[in-house]
């Protein structure tokens, strides 16, 4: 796949492969007054691939993620999403109703802190079932069955289905959040530091689980992380950000083994070798 080259030279609507992109971001800029959140970011995501956005704290990763997931309005630039029927449309020109429907059916958003992504006052089963009910499922037995299946897939025991997430450990909460997002079979999932705050062995299991789910379901994932190990394990491609700008992009293996930009070299050499 020559996606790496393509990505580095994204020309708006030129080649055919770019047309098939699931999400196409062009010239995205978000400023906070005089300060830059992210500036002139362009990239595409194809179905079934995992893109990692890496960079240090304050480099604009989360601003970028919030913009492309329509949680934040960019100052300028466009985000085109190609829906299941093959029509590509600018998410900021959609009606709010359509955009919100997209967010709870075609998209998922995994927050760094599970408390932000879960309803802490309702049971795990209801958390998983919420999206199903939001799209019109009205059969309690079916919803519960689906919830049990999904809890199983994210390695949560079925007998925890009626417990509230506040009774769950951090790793379980994160897995529950993932199940809750994947239950409607989304095509694109945004993840903001999904392994942040988890211990190493739990991280490893979560990453393994995510890899399995991503390949089983053919998900496209955009994952924001400052942890290069997460990017290495999970992603096909990476973009590196610094001070709101993309400074390097490419295949993960290429980028980590042969970083070109000085900042990327610094980042890669900062990894603790055990």
């Amino acid at each position: 796949m020559s996606t790496a080259e393509l990505m580095e030279t994204v020309q708006p609507g030129v080649d055919d492969q770019a047309e098939a992109a699931l999400l196409k971001v062009e010239g995205l800029t978000r400023v906070y007054g005089d300060r830059i959140g992210c500036a002139d970011v362009s990239f595409s995501v194809w179905p079934g691939e995992v893109l990692a956005i890496v960079g240090e704290s304050g480099s604009g990763k989360t601003t970028l993620l919030n913009c492309i997931s329509s949680r934040l309005t960019p100052t300028c630039g466009t985000v085109h999403y190609r829906s299941g029927d093959g029509v590509s449309s600018d998410i900021f020109k959609m009606s709010e109703a359509n955009r919100r429907r997209l967010m709870r059916t075609d998209w998922g958003f995994v927050h760094q802190n599970p408390i932000d992504g879960l309803r802490m006052t309702v049971s795990a089963g209801a958390n998983v079932g919420e999206r199903l009910m939001a799209v019109g499922d009205r059969h309690y037995g079916n919803i519960r069955q689906t919830a049990i299946e999904w809890l199983g897939r994210v390695e949560i025991d079925a007998d925890r289905i009626d417990d509230q997430p506040r009774a769950f450990s951090g790793g379980m909460r994160q897995r529950l959040q993932i199940a809750r997002n994947l239950v409607t079979g989304p095509r694109l999932v945004f993840m903001d530091e999904p392994t942040g705050g988890l211990d190493v062995s739990v991280q490893a299991r979560l990453l393994d689980l995510l890899r399995g789910l991503v390949s089983d379901l053919g998900l496209a994932v955009i994952v924001v992380t400052h942890d290069l190990a997460v990017a290495r394990l999970l992603s096909d491609r990476m973009i590196v950000m610094k001070q709101g700008r993309v400074i390097e992009a490419g295949l993960t293996d290429r980028l980590l083994d042969d970083p070109r930009a000085p900042y990327t070299q610094l980042l890669v050499s900062s990894i603790l070798q055990v």
Binding site: E96, R100, V122, S123, A126, A134, R138, H139, Y140, G141
Partner: protein
Amino acid sequence: MTALADMTDTGKLATYNFAYLDEQTKRMIRRAILKGIAIPGYQVPFASREMPMPYGWGTGGVQVTAAIIGPDDVLKVIDQGADDTTNAVSIRAFFAKTAGVETTTATAEASIIQTRHRIPEMPLTEGQVLVYQVPIPEPLRFLEPRETETRKMHALEEYGLMHVKLYEDIARNGHIATTYAYPVKVEGRYVMDPSPTPKFDNPKMHRSEALQLFGAGREKRIYAIPPHTEVVSLDFEDHPFEVQHFDQPCALCGGEQVYLDEVVLDDRGGRMFVCSDTDHCENRCAAGHRGELAGDDLFDGKDKGVETEAST
């Protein structure tokens, strides 16, 4: 004709406008009511006024009633179905004083019925108006605390969250345990909180001949169900909506298929179940129906418990 006129006739300064509120306020409330009727189930914000009663005592209902009442109206006020509890008596007296209207306890004779938490057992007819006192108009409130978000959810018809609440009920209790303020969908569009009426009364709202108006004073919202409007209680396909059932008939009138209140008779576990709708119960008793505790000795007043029993 009005309190105003009465006062000026006697040479004193007028203290109240007809029905307490000034005409501009009533106009504002009527506009909100008309909008509510035009969009069944939609919560219309309005500039709720201070009323001479505490929030939670029906300030919303009183303002709605004040805005629609005319000199020819006959007013009935019920509180938990009863005509003779504090809230009902004082609101009835309030309008008798400030509007000089005729009041009644008979459901059939009333043109306006202000209610707290019950719909009369007798089916309402065309031309009658039922005014509800609503504490919390937002059915999504306990799941979504942000008003901006709930309004957006109503606007975009995102009601999945309401079923999350019902799901939780079934998961915890094995059945839908919500017994009052049971959410309904009005005319296939807006999900609405029918105020804390028991779900027993939900079917009475469906295609009712009467106009139903809801006023929430503290929350500053008015909403409405026009006559003959479809009102469907939310449920699951495999857990359909059901109303409460009572094992025994009313102890005073022997009525069945009515909503009953439990009345504690003594401190040894004695209790009775009586109609919550006192007018309905009295009519049945007058028509010769008798429940098991409706012995004549009770009505002679020999038992000191009679007053409290009948008035609950």
